[in-house]
Amino acid sequence: MRSPEHVELVRNNPDLPPVAVIDRRPMTTSKKLIFAAIGLVTAIAWALVAFVRGESVNGAYFVVAAVGTYVIAYRFYARLIEYKVVRPRDDRATPGEEHENGRDYAPTDRRVLFGHHFAAIAGAGPLVGPVLAAQMGYLPGTLWIIIGAVLAGCVQDYLVLWLSTRRRGRSLGQMIRDEMGSVGGAAGLIGVFVIMIIILAVLALVVVNALAESPWGVFSVGMTIPIALFMGVYLRYIRPGRVSEVSVIGVVLLVLAIVAGGWVADTTWGAETFTLDKVTVAWLIVGYGFLASVLPVWLLLAPRDYLSTFMKVGTIVLLAVGVIVAQPAVQAPAVSSFAIEGNGPAFAGSLFPFLFITIACGALSGFHALISSGTSPKLVEKESQLRLIGYGGMLTESFVAIMALVTAISIDQHLYFTMNAPATLTGGEPGTAADYVNGLGLAGPPATAADIQGAADSVGEESIVSRTGGAPTLAFGMSQILGSFLGGSAMTAFWYHFAIMFEALFILTTVDAGTRVARFMLSDTLGNLGGPLKKFRDPSWRVGAWICSIVVCGLWGAILLMGVTDPLGGINTLFPLFGIANQLLAAMALALVTVVVVKKGYLKWAWIPAVPLVWDLAVTMTASYQKIFSPEPSLGYWAQHNAFREARDAGETSFGTAADPAAMDAVIRNTFLQGTLSIVFALLVLIVALVALWVCVKAIRAGGLPTTEEPDAESATFAPSGLVTTDAEKEVAAQWTAYYEANPDKIRTGTHA
């Protein structure tokens, strides 16, 4: 048998073909040339993005710069992490192979698992954050999305996936407890729960802002519920298991619902029935969250998941094609004055740290650590595939974020700020909004009230003034990009509502699933308290499930309503909390990874997770510090709180953006809660970080410590590592095929059998 030089074949059993290929062949000259060419093109694209100014900056440069950087990072940096930290051993059985049961533990083709993992990590976050961050100009956001993903986000996802794979697919919370003890574990558990609540509230707020006063949006998004119910019944009673068939039917119905939304919104009764104010939409979403989370999975959540996956992949591909074909010209400046002065209308605060808080998903998302631990580790075939799944999956997510950023920066700057400044600044009317944005000193011709109303009419909306939250802006940009080559102006309104629909679909699925997860965490915690509460541990006890669901929905619903009614503009005050929460979760995950790397004695390479950890702690701690201690009322929650308090105590009946005493009370209450949450978040993460530091010091003194990695189990199967099968891997795969043909009784069964 041919075995090229520098290729080692590993066997666990001399009677079986090899289980691993260790390929140390140097790069061929042609490959070196290809990578050199990619590097050169990427460098040119970066130069164009960074140094060219004015009308000539083309949206497609961003795509080239991003993809080129991803390729280089995947080939070189991810490979370095693989060699020095992960050290995959393909002769070791993965949880999927060792505990194979054909259900949750089941080795899955790496390309399928990549799709699966990507669908699980991609959500509305990478679409919304970059849109808001566009207020600081295009350069800071682009740099952070790409560099942050390569050095932080992908590293976190890859290494958490690795930890969980070596621990039978344990969850993040469990791993923190196992590796850092009960104090760190408890702080981690509470942190995850609180963060979950705030994330649900802010995501729901994004949907509320997209659907309020939009009969078209309310109708078409509302129709997703009967469509999902129909799909659920179809899959259970009519054609069980026909998932792709029912998904195609569902997507067709969704498109019909979008078209029908336009007709309904045009009729008088439709406009009357479905034009809802923010508070009503918020209550409807809280009610939906409760019902959805107590209904059985098969009826609503599972079919919504299928729809989400289809729409997600379809829309992202559509947007990528759109940006490359339409090549929109960039309207935003490279760095805006808001980045430096920190007085932006979409969110307050200067570039450091608030840009890195706002673009959470897409560069570094702590939530991914929850996804990376659990499902994917139980499905992976070989440890060497984790680079593709973890690092590669996050690169794809970063690409989605770049697309969202390009979409936002190609919108006319006046329209962008018309949509993203809170109503207290724009006045809520086209005329006052035009005056406001013309006073910002933006590039391009000034906007008129007619321009602003015309933009709203073009997408079939009553108004686009102060449609904050990111989703309407993204939808507006997408409708312009897609409309420019698919269907023209006649289709612009359709594309706008298509984009709104798919974001709402993602978010409502997350709300449903997140409420369930938080409910389980709550009932588990209550059950563990013992006594009469023990009953909560039984997941089939419906009353307990309802009680916990009501509590969870009540918690995020209260924050949501607070944001909806906030005189300061909900997104402006709540989005930073969402970003801080997500980045704090990332800090916990990176702290765990650093602890394990140090315990394993790889001290020399501990900088790989430690650099993003230190950066992330600097960002989140600075942001928390400013949110808690800043004397600037627009930035600091407590400064705002005290300013309103003093005004009330002085007997004033209106203050700042609050027009009456009730609004002033609302601000005082909201800022109190937001300030308290900021303190809780910061304390929890400080505890985890300090515990991590202490364990690291202990491990360094002891020259390494044992970890809770599962003992080795010998692998008896083979699978290729990368996206493309190499010649050496093909050879080994052919040996296995021949072996199984000769010994049909030896086909792998899993060791539990």
């Binding site: 194979e100 049961n101 054909g102 259900r103 949750d104 089941a106 899955t108 083709d109 390309r111 399928v112 799709g115 699966h116 669908a119 699980a120 991609a122 959500g123 509305a124 976050g125 979950m196 994330i199 995501l203 899959l235 259970r236 069980p240 298991g241 026909r242 998932v243 792709s244 998904s247 059985p296 999975v297 098969w298 959540l301 599972a302 998941d305 299928y306 996956t309 998903c361 998302s365 939530f367 991914h368 996804i371 659990g374 499902t375 993602f506 699925t509 997350t510 699933a513 997140g514 369930r516 997860v517 389980f520 997941p539 089939s540 997500n582 086909i747 792998r748 069964t749 899993g750 059998a753």
Partner: protein, 74 residues
């Protein structure tokens, strides 16, 4: 057999192969092929065990998701 005719693949074969690859991928990512995977596993590892029907398999599967929900990302 000596009369093994090596037919060059026509455009139709290419389309058919492409379609097969696409359905393999889509059913894999959506989880539709999990039933076949489970049945194959049962036949291999537990040849005596009763094989559930498609409907039973998915009922169990959704019941398991009910009892142990996974988070979606933000």
């Amino acid at each position: 057999m000596s009369a093994l005719v090596a037919r060059t693949p026509g455009p139709f074969d290419v389309v058919r192969r492409g379609w097969r690859a696409l359905t393999w991928y889509v059913t894999g990512v959506l989880g539709e092929s999990d039933y076949q995977r489970y049945v194959a596993h049962l036949r291999r590892a537990h040849p005596d065990a009763a094989v559930p029907t498609v409907g039973e398999f998915w009922r169990d599967r959704y019941a398991a998701q009910d009892a142990n929900p996974g988070a979606r990302c933000c």
